[in-house]
């Protein structure tokens, strides 16, 4: 026993059992596949209980398999099981205690106005989203939607070269030749061809599309048409005369 060097005379708990770990592992993989495929079936057939059982029921079974066979809790002293059980019990106690207040948004003498407003706002947004975007944009655009802000996106992507204030002084842009455009320079905007449509084209397809430098990469894959327009407007807001 590995523990003998510090627990003399005391034998580990593993003496009496032999778990076939590989079998447990295979069983876990089978359950895992069911937990992925099941909810798809549930969604396809519209039967919500299939999703609930295959997703959460199976999770409990998997957790039990791991806890009993890999963590060897099944062979552990009883006091340990009680200890863990009391932790789980406390957790459920907390959930049971506060769930009426969290899950309901109104009661006999109270109303959670903020939560209700958030639900309403969220559902309206989701409804608008599904009718507008899902139809003409398809699956690929699904990732880009909630919480989009042109300023944030500019800060994360464009600012590395064009600078946070649009002055073309971003860290990654310092070594580029030609240097990144300076949106605060009146001379840059002096060319009448630099209108909103052209800015959108350059962001979407890269500067090469208008005969510019290949260093300005195409970013169209990141944005929906609407978001492209927002980013373009943000870029144009750096114009000195804007």
């Amino acid at each position: 026993m590995s523990e003998n060097n510090e627990h003399n005379g005391e034998h580990g708990h593993d003496d009496g059992h032999h778990v076939n770990y590989f079998k447990i592992y295979l069983l876990l993989l089978v359950l895992f596949i069911i937990s992925v495929v099941g909810p798809e079936v549930g969604e396809f057939t519209g039967l919500r209980w299939i999703t609930l059982i295959t997703a959460f029921g199976i999770a409990v079974v998997k957790a039990r398999l791991v806890v009993n066979n890999f963590m060897h809790l099944a062979w552990e002293k009883r006091i340990m099981k009680w200890m863990l059980a009391s932790s789980v019990l406390l957790m459920f106690l907390m959930v049971a205690g506060i769930s009426p207040d969290v899950m309901n948004h109104e009661g006999n003498n109270w109303e959670n106005v903020a939560a209700k407003a958030e639900v309403e706002r969220g559902l309206a947004y989701a409804a608008g989203y599904s009718s507008d975007e899902a139809e003409d944009e398809g699956e690929a655009e699904v990732v880009v939607a909630a919480g989009f802000s042109a300023a944030t996106s500019y800060g994360q992507i464009c600012a590395t070269c064009h600078g946070a204030a649009g002055a073309g002084d971003g860290i990654a842009g310092a070594a580029l030749d030609p240097p990144p455009a300076n949106f605060t320079d009146p001379a840059f905007w002096a060319d009448p061809a630099r209108d909103r449509d052209r800015v959108i084209t350059v962001i979407r397809d890269g500067a090469v599309a208008v005969g510019g430098s290949a260093l300005m990469a195409p970013w169209g894959a990141l944005y929906t048409e609407e978001q492209l327009e927002q980013v373009a407007d943000y870029v144009m807001s750096f114009r000195p005369d804007a």
Binding site: S2, E3, N5, E6, H7, N8, E10, G12, Y21, F22, Y25, L28, L29, F32, S35, V36, P39, A55, A59, K62, A63, V66, V67, N69, F70, M71, E76, M80, M83, L84, S87, V88, L90, M91, F92, M94, V95, I98, S99, V102, M103, H105, A115, E118, V119, G122, L123, Y125, A126, S130, V143, V144, A145, A146, G147, F148, T152, S153, Q156, L222
Partner: protein, 192 residues
Amino acid sequence: MAHARPIATTRSATGIPTPRLAVWWILASEVVIFGGLLGVYIMHRIGHPEWAEAASHTQTWIGAINTFVLLTSSFTCVLAHQAAEKGNGKEAAKLLGFTILGALMFLMIKSYEWTTEIIAGYTITANTFWSFYYTAAGLHALHVIAGAIIMGFIAVDAFRGRELHRVEIIGIYWHFVDVVWIFLFPLLYIAK
């Protein structure tokens, strides 16, 4: 070896070796930490039907691959324990190495996943669903990182044939991290 150890680590009133007792205590408190967080998430999820829209943007396949990676790392970890029981420190160290590899793979996949989501605008402040998403998965990822680091130390010791009982201790912790993910996966990815 025993003479160099504090008395507290050499006796056991419960009949359970002290290191194992200690790790079970840690896990008992972890149950309350993760359980509390996930319990609050579930309550809000039920109270806020509009979260379904936000949740539909999580990338199920990435979560599924990570579930597979963690399950497999748990398997190599329990095999490491088995090797340690047989006194084969080198084999145990090798298997712990595979487990650490699993942890690294998990973290790399998670980094990729979060990067695509953050670029798309789904940040921790986007709405309450995403706050829970990053908090729960982030807290879990911290446990993965901590476990991998500790496992590294234990693997080095095991390779030299020292402190083999610790392989079981880190294993118990690691399987718990796996169990937490077993629940996180359906909660964050499957329930749409």
